[in-house]
């Protein structure tokens, strides 16, 4: 119901239940505040927002006082001003006046308001409080003496990040914000605390002391790390990105971004950043710098020669799903121009049978409202941190995965199992939905009953898509889709999975997909913005690259391919180029370059344009970015949102009437199975090279082989012991172990460096002497 009130003499209308703060904001009246934050619960503790309300003997906090009909509010009367000035004085008495050396200077809410509400001389003549700084990890710096105890950071942790990593301890003047015991702040959204802190108590550690806000230019950008499509603001000093903060978009990321989005920019000047083209002569072991012209010519010549010698179908083109739509369009155009259909961007997949799903199948907004979300093989906090935030706010969800029970679903809504058991369980859920219960596994039965007849979206995470069982899972999901209209989607498509699919960066009839290319005895590979760590079968890729005659890499960093590439062409990273990303919803977002690529590096689209031209292909004689899009934009290119379900290739399915199937969810094998949960800071070339992210707890864990504590005990091993893993296909790897009780039994969560197989992995504790040398 709408009510009417008076604010500063003007009539305003507001919905009942709104606060004075909200009503005033809607009426264009700004009320000073610190603790209030539109996305957090109300604390009403800073008292900066005190206003005068007729008939109330005391000033009232606008942020916490609900409007009532006929209320008369004055935010600027002498009484209100007096109250606000009084609070400001209190806030400043113990605040160090160290603005000249404070990183928040210039964007500090306290500084701003002090100018408006403070007095120039302090009446406070006593000693000031000093609070020791806290060690919160590699991302956040603290200067706790500056803290004004607004508890925004505490509420952010509890309400948004999902973990209460900071709390207000102590009382009165001794009240301090601190982590629990000596913990660091480890949530995947922790960097947002820097933004919510109104003062310089929590600041960005990597950005510290590097620039003043007024020196920075603000450029819009889009996240290049996951399929959410978070909107960013890149703050640049000249040609350099100095920091990244969220750009508000209510429909997507609200006012948050993941730490990955915030701190990956640090990789832009990683040691192996490509700044010059490099070539390796057949006789040499090293890449050495080469002029652009020579490098480009050599590429065209070699590709032509190899096509002539072996046929163009002996070349493979592999591109990152985080490349821009324009880049992917040009890359596939080159591939097809030289007569090659072997092109793919689905690097983290093993089994391509069973059809294709692209995108979420629904929008983020729909995800928020959907009756049920069924997550299969997803680890939201690592794959899509903002999905994890969305899930925390909606209790109706069911998750099936091998890792991270707590974060995927509330108790009773989560089934923890090894990947080879998933299809059995999912089938059981389906049957329970059809028959209304009666399944052996209680969770599955309950889940099935819940899903039946409900608006459900099935979302596959990386753990499912990378697994050899993905085709089976897809088949059951399709049956669910037929049974109760569930939509299907994948979460792990990369920043531009949508663009990659739409521009045809995947094989058509006769072409090879990623798995086939790795096994197809190809003679040459062209890698665009990717390296072996980006592949599900990275050992296999390394072998294939080693056996090929020619490897050309185009990318921002050379590191992962230094040993095998014959040619390296330095390209711009996402922040340095214009481009378009199509996120999991199917939403296209075009961005401009925020920074300049370093050295001789060039935008990917420019490099590809010249390569196409050098190869003598048609359609490469354009000169501006704007000329690319019309080449691929069709009628409905930009409004293809949420067509994932429609894109599912219809395949005959026989699972419907297999009611009598005996299911005990036994794993398909006895050895360990790979969990395929991509480590959050091993997601792509940039995150892998961000020093700050690598120093976080999650960053450090990525290098470890994680297993269920019981499995580790069975090996006679404990945390820190080195384990040797081997598979039946001759692959092997060694890694230090870490017990992780959030894993299913029988599962190995690791960077699967040297392994070819995904199942039947055997593990053995290594001898001490070997461990010492390892």
């Amino acid at each position: 119901m709408e009510i009417s009130l008076e604010i500063n003499g003007k009539t305003a209308r507001a919905r009942e239940g709104r606060t004075i703060m909200e009503a005033a904001a809607a009426a264009g009246v700004h009320i000073p505040h610190f603790c209030w934050h539109k996305k957090l619960s109300i604390a009403a503790n800073c008292r900066m927002c005190l206003v005068e309300v007729a008939k109330s003997p005391k000033p009232l906090p606008a942020c916490a006082t609900p409007v009532v009909d006929g209320m008369v509010v004055r935010t600027d009367s002498p009484a209100a001003k007096k109250a606000q000035q009084g609070v400001m004085e209190f806030l400043l008495i113990n605040h160090p006046l160290d603005c000249p050396i404070c990183d928040q200077g210039g964007e500090c809410e306290l500084q701003d308001l002090a100018v408006g509400y403070g007095i120039s001389r302090s009446r406070y003549a006593e000693e000031k409080r000093v609070v020791f700084e806290k060690q919160l990890g590699p991302l956040i710096s603290t200067d706790m003496t500056r803290c004004i105890h607004c508890t925004r950071c505490v509420r952010f942790g509890r309400e948004v990040a999902g973990v209460m990593e900071l709390g207000l301890t102590g009382r009165g003047e001794h009240a301090e914000i601190m982590p629990f015991v000596e913990n660091t702040v480890d949530s995947e959204l922790s960097g947002n605390m820097i933004d919510v802190c109104p003062v310089g108590a929590l600041t960005s550690k990597p950005f510290r002391f590097s620039a003043r806000p007024w020196e920075l230019q603000t450029k819009p950008g889009i996240s290049a790390h996951d399929s959410w499509g978070s909107n960013l603001e890149l703050h640049c000093k000249g040609p350099t990105v100095m920091r990244v903060v969220p750009r508000e978009n209510e429909e997507i990321n609200e006012c948050w971004i993941s730490d990955r989005d915030r701190f990956s920019y640090l990789a832009l000047d990683a040691p192996d950043r490509g700044k010059s083209p490099m070539r390796r002569e057949e006789s040499s072991h090293r890449l050495s710098e080469s002029p652009w012209a020579t490098a480009l010519d050599s590429f065209a010549e070699t590709i032509r020669a190899l096509s002539g010698k072996y046929g163009a179908d002996k070349i493979g083109f592999l591109a990152s799903p985080n490349a821009t739509t324009e880049e992917l369009f040009l890359l596939q155009k080159i591939a097809r121009g030289v007569g090659c259909e072997n092109i793919d961007h689905r690097l983290r997949r093993r089994d391509f049978s069973g059809g294709e799903i692209n995108g979420y199948g629904i929008t983020v907004e729909q995800m928020r409202r959907r009756e049920h979300l069924l997550l299969v093989g997803a680890q939201p906090s690592a794959e899509l941190p903002l999905l994890a935030h969305l899930l925390r706010r909606r209790p109706r969800r069911l998750a099936l995965s091998s890792v991270g029970a707590a974060e995927c679903g509330a108790a009773g809504n989560h089934i923890l199992a090894r990947p080879s058991q998933w299809s059995g369980i999912l089938e059981s859920v389906l049957r329970a939905a059809q028959s209304g219960g009666g399944e052996k596994n209680e969770t599955a039965a309950a889940a099935g009953k819940k899903l039946a007849g409900k608006e459900t979206s099935i979302l596959f995470g990386g753990g499912a898509v990378q697994s050899p069982h993905y085709p089976a899972l897809l088949e059951i999901a399709r049956a669910m889709s037929r049974e109760f209209g569930a939509t299907l989607g994948v979460l792990c498509g990369g920043a531009n999975g949508g663009g990659a699919a739409k521009t045809g960066a995947m094989p058509r009839a006769g072409g090879m997909n990623t798995a086939e290319m790795l096994r197809g005895g190809l003679r040459a590979f062209v890698l665009f913005q990717c390296e072996p760590e980006d592949f599900a079968e990275r050992a296999l890729l390394s072998r294939a690259l080693g056996e090929a005659e020619y490897v050309a890499a185009i990318g921002a960093h050379s590191g992962g391919l230094r040993d095998c590439a014959r040619l390296f062409l330095p390209a711009a990273a996402a922040a340095e180029t214009e481009g378009t990303f199509i996120n999991g919803e199917g939403r296209a977002q075009t961005f401009a370059a925020a920074a300049r690529p370093p050295g001789l590096a060039r935008e990917g689209w420019k490099i590809l344009r010249v390569l196409g031209e050098k190869l003598g292909l048609d359609g490469f004689d354009f000169s501006t970015f704007a000329e690319i899009r019309p080449q691929f934009v069709g009628e409905d290119f930009y409004n293809g949102g949420g067509d994932g379900a429609a894109a599912v290739s219809k395949k005959k399915n026989g699972a419907d009437d297999s009611g009598g199937l005996e299911l005990d969810f036994a794993p398909a094998n006895n050895g360990l199975e790979l969990a395929f949960a991509p480590a959050i800071y091993d997601a792509d070339m940039l995150t892998r090279r961000s020093p700050a992210l690598q120093k976080t707890a999650s960053g450090k864990n990525a290098a470890l082989a994680q297993m269920h504590p019981e499995d580790l005990r069975a090996l006679g091993a404990e945390d820190g012991d080195w384990i040797r893993f081997s598979d039946s296909e001759g692959g092997a790897m060694e890694a230090a172990a870490k017990a992780n009780p959030a894993l299913a039994r029988g599962v190995l969560l690791a960077r699967c460096g040297g392994l070819f197989g995904a199942e039947n992995i055997t593990a053995e504790k290594m001898q001490m002497d070997k461990a010492a040398s390892g």
Binding site: I42, A43, A44, N45, C46, R47, M48, L50, P57, K58, P59, P61, A64, P66, A83, G86, V87, E89, F90, L91, I93, N94, R123, Y124, A125, E126, E127, R129, I148, H149, G167, L168, T169, G170, R171, G172, E173, H174, A175
Partner: protein, 453 residues
């Protein structure tokens, strides 16, 4: 809680009631301490029964008296909250929504931490079952099936005693499922606090009960709509509940008539400080202070009265000449410029340095502020530091005005009333004893030290 409070409390416990009675009028000890006149140990349930205890409850449950009728009696009795604010209890109990399919909780505030207050522990120590009976009746009135008694953290033996009393009441069928076959169930849990003054503030108490840091909540919503675990909750002081069996047994009128209009019933005053017999005295509201002082044995060693804080450290101090003319009830004390508060009468003789006394009080609030809201967190420290400076002889001419100004900037702008409680003593001490403060500032020393020397 201050250590001084302790010493007093134990002395109060040893206080011999029969002797007190001999010295004073017949009206003392009528409500809560009345059964004590039997001379029996009332912590024994059977003894309490024999003095008429639990008979009110039994009658109500037997006759299934409609709760509305009982509520009317509480209203009629004029009972006002004994925890400090003096809010009419009957009115408060009408705020609990009825007929909702949700839990309703009843909470007893036995956290008394206010300097000068030591009555609730004596109620629990001497007559625990009257409190329990009062809570059961209140629960019956409001339809609560679970209740909590939050006991101050530094009186462990009282907590143990209450645990025994609750167990005995359960064994006797007064607590638990289907009480006395009436179909009404009520479980009572004692909860042991940890001694933070702020946990006596009702919403901080609820937070603490929920296992969180004891910090007041912003109100509204009030506990009656959003209380313990988010459910409608009634919270009252222990003395408030302990009055209820009397009202039910003897009638609302008897209770009301005992005091003055709008100030019904008797009140336990915790008298401490420079009197001969510090202790708890239950007298009708409206008893003149002079009479109360006499009950407490008069001034210690015949010293001269200087000032009295009549309701606990949070209420304004009154100089001797004012308090000697004042009756001890809500309205009279308000008229005299102070408050009844929790009925904690701190008596100070001429040897007390008011600057020192204020320093001690301001230290208390500085240490006990929960630190949540700006004016109180920052202001209590500021106040204390200035007063401490004055006491050390380093005061400045402008300090007194600054103290008043800072106090005004705290008062009324905080989440809970602790801010106001910290500001009040500062303003009243300066108002009534400005000269003494000025002497400290100008001369850099205490006039009383000189006298003593």
């Amino acid at each position: 809680m201050t250590r001084d409070g302790y010493g007093l409390e134990y002395r109060a416990g040893e206080n011999d009631k029969s002797e007190t009675k001999a010295k004073t009028g017949a009206m003392a000890d009528e409500v809560i301490f009345a059964p004590l006149k039997s001379g029996r140990d009332l912590t024994v349930l059977e003894n309490y029964r024999q003095t008429g205890g639990y008979s009110a409850l039994e009658k109500i449950l037997r006759e299934q008296t409609p709760p509305g009728e009982l509520l009317a009696a509480v209203k009629e009795s004029g009972l006002r909250g004994r925890g400090g604010a003096g809010f009419p209890t009957g009115l408060k109990w009408t705020f609990i929504p009825r007929g909702l399919p949700t839990e309703v909780y009843l909470v007893c505030n036995s956290d008394e931490g206010e300097p000068g207050t030591f009555k609730d522990r004596d109620i629990m120590r001497k007559n625990p079952h009257q409190l329990i009976e009062g809570m059961i009746i209140a629960a019956y009135i409001m339809g609560a099936n679970a209740g909590y008694n939050y006991i101050h953290g530094e009186i462990w033996e009282v907590y143990e005693l209450m645990e025994r009393a609750v167990a005995d009441a359960e064994a006797a069928g007064y607590l638990g499922e289907d009480i006395l076959g009436s179909g009404f169930s009520f479980r009572l849990h004692n909860h042991h606090g940890y001694g933070a003054y702020i946990c006596g503030e009702e919403t901080a108490l609820l937070e603490s009960l929920e296992g969180k840091k004891g910090q007041p909540r912003f109100k509204p919503p009030f506990p009656a709509s959003y209380g313990l675990y988010g459910k409608p909750t009634t919270i009252n002081n222990a003395e408030t509940f302990a009055c209820v069996p009397f009202i039910m047994r003897e009638g609302a009128e008897a209770f009301a008539e005992m005091g003055k209009p709008n100030n019904g019933g008797s009140k336990i005053f915790s008298v401490s400080g420079h009197v001969e017999k510090p202790g708890n005295y239950e007298v009708p509201l409206g008893t003149p202070f002079a009479e109360l002082l006499q009950m407490a044995g008069g001034m210690r060693n015949g010293a001269k009265l200087k000032a009295v804080i009549p309701g606990g450290s949070s209420v304004p101090v009154l100089p001797a000449e004012v308090i000697m003319q004042t009756d001890m009830d809500y309205d009279s004390l308000a008229k005299a410029g102070s408050m009844l508060g929790a009925g904690s009468v701190i008596v100070m003789d001429e040897s007390v340095c008011m600057v020192r006394a204020l320093m001690r009080l301001s230290y208390f609030y500085y240490e006990e502020s929960c630190g949540q809201c700006t004016p109180c967190r920052e202001g209590t420290g500021w106040l204390h530091k200035i007063v401490r400076r004055i006491e050390k002889g380093e005061g400045r001419e402008e300090d007194l005005d600054l103290l008043v100004s800072v106090s005004n900037r705290i008062d009324g702008r905080t989440i809970c009333a602790l801010g106001a409680a910290a500001a009040t003593p500062v303003r009243s001490f300066i108002k009534h004893f400005r000269g003494e403060f000025e002497h400290h500032i100008r001369k850099g020393e205490c006039p009383l030290d000189k006298k003593a020397a």
